[in-house]
Structures are given as structure tokens and as C-alpha cells.
């Protein structure tokens, strides 16, 4: 009984830990298997627009405000308005496409899984085999 409780508690802790982690996910076609936080920043601020094989990176973002989205923006070191300014400037000058907004994590997961060269982020506990996990961020 004590052992079972211990396992359950450990399991709960693991679950909570996975829930709070951000998984940066990519389409299976992407040529990279792992990515650093700096590389994620460069991709989401549109400084890096191509994968190493020259394919154009397709970005996905979450539409609604959420703890996950706020945490991801903190990782990027940008406020929502700063990112919005960067994305609008690039999009309206024809330099790059702003990220496509998805209504929730499930939709984002589906879109990344279905779109070649796509990248996005979801809670680590929502990851499936349909995508490649490039990074997990606490």
C-alpha cells in the first residue's frame, strides 16, 4: 500500500512536471532533431527563416492567451507586443510570414504534424508520435 502510494505520488509529480514543460515540436520532415533556446528565439523572431537544408520554416503559434503561451514568450525574451511588432514588420514588408495562430494546443499539434517544415510549441504532456520533439523547456 505504501509502495503503491509512493508510485502514485511520483507519477503525479511526473505528470505535473510534464504539464508545465514546454515541448517545441516540429514536423517529422524537419532535418533537425534538437534545437537550443537561442535557435528557438532566432526562429520565432524571424531572424532564422530556413532549416539547414534550405527549406522555409513554417511557424505556428497559439491564438489565445494562456500560461503556456506567456511562458513561451518569456523564453523568447519578448513581450506579446514586441513579438507582434516584429511579425507585422516582416509580414508587411514581404520578408517573412508571421506565425499562423491556432485556436488551441490540439489544433497546433495537428497542424505541425500535417505541415512540412512546421514548428510550434505545446505542453510536453500533449506530445504524440506524430511530431518530432526538438526541445523541452522547464
Amino acid at each position: 500500500m505504501t509502495l503503491l502510494s509512493f508510485i502514485l505520488v511520483i507519477g503525479l509529480f511526473s505528470e505535473t512536471e510534464e504539464q508545465t514543460k514546454i515541448a517545441v515540436i516540429a514536423n517529422k520532415s524537419t532535418p533537425v532533431q534538437a534545437i537550443t533556446v537561442k535557435e528557438i528565439r532566432d526562429i520565432y523572431t524571424l531572424k532564422t527563416q530556413r532549416w539547414p537544408n534550405g527549406e522555409i520554416i513554417v511557424l505556428f503559434n497559439l491564438k489565445s492567451k494562456s500560461a503556456l503561451k506567456e511562458k513561451f514568450y518569456e523564453v523568447l525574451g519578448q513581450t506579446a507586443t514586441q513579438l507582434q511588432r516584429i511579425w507585422i514588420r516582416f509580414e508587411l514588408t514581404g520578408e517573412a510570414k508571421a506565425p499562423t495562430a491556432c485556436k488551441d494546443e490540439d489544433e497546433l499539434l495537428q497542424k505541425v504534424a500535417a505541415t512540412p517544415n512546421a514548428i510550434g510549441y505545446i505542453s510536453a504532456n500533449k506530445v504524440t508520435d506524430a511530431v518530432t520533439v526538438l526541445a523541452k523547456i522547464d
Binding site: 531572424k47 527549406e55 507586443t81 514581404g94
Partner: protein, 378 residues
């Protein structure tokens, strides 16, 4: 003009068909609708001869200030094409209102972050604002810093301060401890050299000189910080002043940053000419600074200061100063409400005698406007 407008209109009509046939053709844009309450006053006086004349202009007007249509197509991973059509000031060819302009039409080759080439009609990378001066959803302003505000184009030639067109640009980011931005561009000389009427031998809209505009920008970028220097060299059309083709050198500097909820942008432009005559100057100076604050993800506010001096115009050779206060609220990412109060002033300056005023006059100018606008992206 009407033929061109008609052709562009017809091409827009067939675009939906093209878009469905080629799914990667993106058609998007924005418009900004403006309500302006304007009060201005020009005073000219010479107390010695008892001359005084005041001209007042008080009006309010709704206006579709600007509508831009963008067409973008990624031709493959390396090449893309871009078209920007701009419609201004309640455009109507029927009523001869406003203007319909081809602002950009370029193809881009993207080799890597450090080597990007644009060929075609483009807005050159000069300082920070020139490339995005007509992207109203990006800008917090309704009335932009004075050399970028198209509604002031009747007061002075804005192309004299910042180059409005180039035709080839090489640019990119050079990796270093901080990112180094560079751009080199080439274009036509002063727009006044471009002829507007076709003759039997020459087409309209082309540069009639053998000179080019050569320019570039070198800057650094790190996080939210960005700074750079820009310059151009070309020939300025000054036949009206009897100076002919005058060598012109523009020198610009820009500094902008965003820190936490604060944002700041500033620029300086100095325009030097080799007039070839002593005691004649047509040099120019412009600078502005804007400090803003994002009260939330939706609400923002700012204050801005502008100064412009143009030695080629007696009314502006002591400068025009402007202050503006504005703000906005983003109802949606694609819909922004903006408000702005703008005050410009030319303090007392003496104008030389002219045909209409044969004595020197003291000249003063005041202009203030309250604007409300909605900027909609689609």
C-alpha cells in the same frame, strides 16, 4: 493615368481566379480610415508698411487615408515576388481625388540570412522608418514623422530627405557578437528628373539623366536594440533655382529600442548639396524622436518631437517644429483604433520680397490637428 488605373483595376478583378489556380499566391493588405479636425493659420506682416495678412484653415474631414494591397508569391525556396499597390486620400479617378501608386514590385533572392537580393521597384533601407513608412498597422502614428507623412508632400519634397525608390538592393545580417545589418542599393536620381509626359521619342516615368542613386545602411541589432547609419549619393534637380543638377549627399542615423514596455525610435537626416555657388545653400536637416509605452498588450501611448529645416525654402530655413501625442487600442490583432494630436509651428521668420508681396514680411505658421483612425488589416 486613368488607363493605368483601369488596367490595375482589371488585374485585381482577375486575381481571385489566379489565387485559386495557384494556391501559394497570397493577397492581403490594410486600410486606415481617418477623421481629422484641422486648424491652421498663416500670418504674414510688415509693420513698417502696415501690411498684415492672415490665412486660416479650419476643417474636419473623414478620409480613407491609405489602402494598400500586397501580393506575395514564393516562387520556390529561394525566390519570391512582391507587389504593393497603394491607394491614398479617398482615391477616385472619377473625381480626381487622391492617388493610386505602384509602390513596390520586386523579386527577391534569398541565399541565406547574410545574402539577400531584391531587384525591381523597392523601398530602400535608409534609416529605420523609410522601408515601413507606409505600413500603417505597424506604425503607432496616424500622422507620421514629418518627412514620412505623405499628406505634407505639398509643403516640401519628401524625396529630398529620404530616398523613396530604389531598383536593386543587396542586404542581410552579418553574424558577429551582435548582428550587423547591411544594405547597399541603387536607383534613379532625384524624382524630379523623371518625366511625367510621354513624347514621341521618350517614354514617361523614366530618369532622363545619366546619374544613379547609390546608397546603403550599416547597423547593429541586438535584442530590442537597433542603430545604424545610412547614406546616399545622387543628383538633385534644382533648375528652378538656376543651379541645374546638383550633387546631393544624404547622411542618416537611426536609433531605436524596446525595453520592457517602453519603446523608442529616433532618426536624423542631414542633406548636403554641392551648390557650386558661394552664399547659396539648399541643405536640409530633419530629426525626430518618439517615446512610447505599452500599458497592456492592447493599449499603447507615445509622445513624439519633430524638427525640419530646409534652406531652399525661406519659410523653412529657421525650421518647423512639431510635437505630437498619441495612443491606440488593439481591439484585435487586425483592428487598431488610434488617436493623435499634432502641433506644428514655424516661429517668426522673415521672407524676402516676392512678386505678390514686394516687401519683406514676417512669416508665422501654426498647424494643429486632432485625428482618430481605424487601421484594419485583411
Amino acid at each position: 493615368m486613368s488607363k493605368i488605373a483601369c488596367a490595375l483595376f482589371l488585374s485585381l478583378l482577375v486575381l481571385p481566379g489566379l489565387a485559386s489556380a495557384q494556391s501559394d499566391l497570397e493577397l492581403f493588405g490594410f486600410f486606415q480610415i481617418n477623421l481629422a479636425e484641422v486648424h491652421s493659420k498663416v500670418s504674414m506682416a510688415n509693420s513698417a508698411v502696415g501690411f498684415r495678412r492672415d490665412l486660416r484653415d479650419n476643417r474636419n474631414s473623414f478620409n480613407v487615408q491609405q489602402l494598400n494591397l500586397f501580393m506575395h508569391k514564393q516562387l520556390n525556396n529561394d525566390f519570391s515576388a512582391w507587389i504593393n499597390l497603394e491607394i491614398k486620400n479617398n482615391y477616385s479617378s472619377e473625381h480626381f481625388w487622391g492617388a493610386f501608386n505602384l509602390q513596390e514590385a520586386w523579386a527577391r533572392y534569398y541565399r541565406n540570412t547574410s545574402f539577400i537580393v531584391k531587384a525591381g521597384l523597392l523601398l530602400p533601407a535608409f534609416n529605420n522608418l523609410n522601408e515601413v513608412k507606409n505600413r500603417m498597422p505597424y506604425l503607432p502614428y496616424i500622422i507620421r514623422p514629418v518627412v514620412y507623412e505623405s499628406s505634407f508632400s505639398e509643403l516640401f519634397d519628401q524625396d529630398d530627405f529620404a530616398p523613396s525608390r530604389a531598383y536593386f538592393q543587396l542586404y542581410g545580417l552579418l553574424p558577429a557578437a551582435v548582428d550587423v545589418e547591411y544594405a547597399l542599393f541603387v536607383g534613379n536620381s532625384d524624382e524630379d528628373f523623371l518625366i511625367s509626359a510621354a513624347t514621341e521619342t521618350i517614354q514617361s516615368g523614366i530618369d532622363t539623366t545619366g546619374h544613379f542613386l547609390l546608397g546603403g545602411r550599416l547597423g547593429v541589432k541586438s535584442g530590442g536594440f537597433k542603430a545604424g547609419v545610412s547614406s546616399t549619393y545622387d543628383k538633385d534637380e534644382q533648375s528652378a533655382l538656376g543651379l541645374g543638377q546638383v550633387p546631393r549627399f544624404r547622411l542618416g542615423g537611426d536609433l531605436s529600442f524596446s525595453w520592457r514596455r517602453w519603446f523608442f525610435e529616433s532618426e536624423i537626416i542631414r542633406v548636403f548639396h554641392d551648390e557650386g555657388r558661394p552664399n547659396v545653400s539648399i541643405d536640409k536637416l530633419f530629426y525626430y524622436g518618439t517615446l512610447g509605452y505599452d500599458f497592456s498588450d492592447r493599449l499603447f501611448g507615445y509622445v513624439s518631437y519633430n524638427f525640419l529645416e530646409d534652406d531652399s525654402q525661406p519659410a523653412l530655413d529657421d525650421g518647423i517644429r512639431g510635437v505630437s501625442v498619441g495612443g491606440g487600442y488593439r481591439f484585435l490583432e487586425a483592428l487598431v483604433f488610434k488617436m493623435q494630436y499634432v502641433y506644428f509651428k514655424i516661429a517668426k521668420t522673415t521672407l524676402p520680397p516676392t512678386e505678390t508681396t514686394p516687401v519683406p514680411v514676417d512669416f508665422r505658421f501654426y498647424y494643429h490637428t486632432i485625428n482618430a483612425a481605424i487601421s484594419v488589416s485583411f
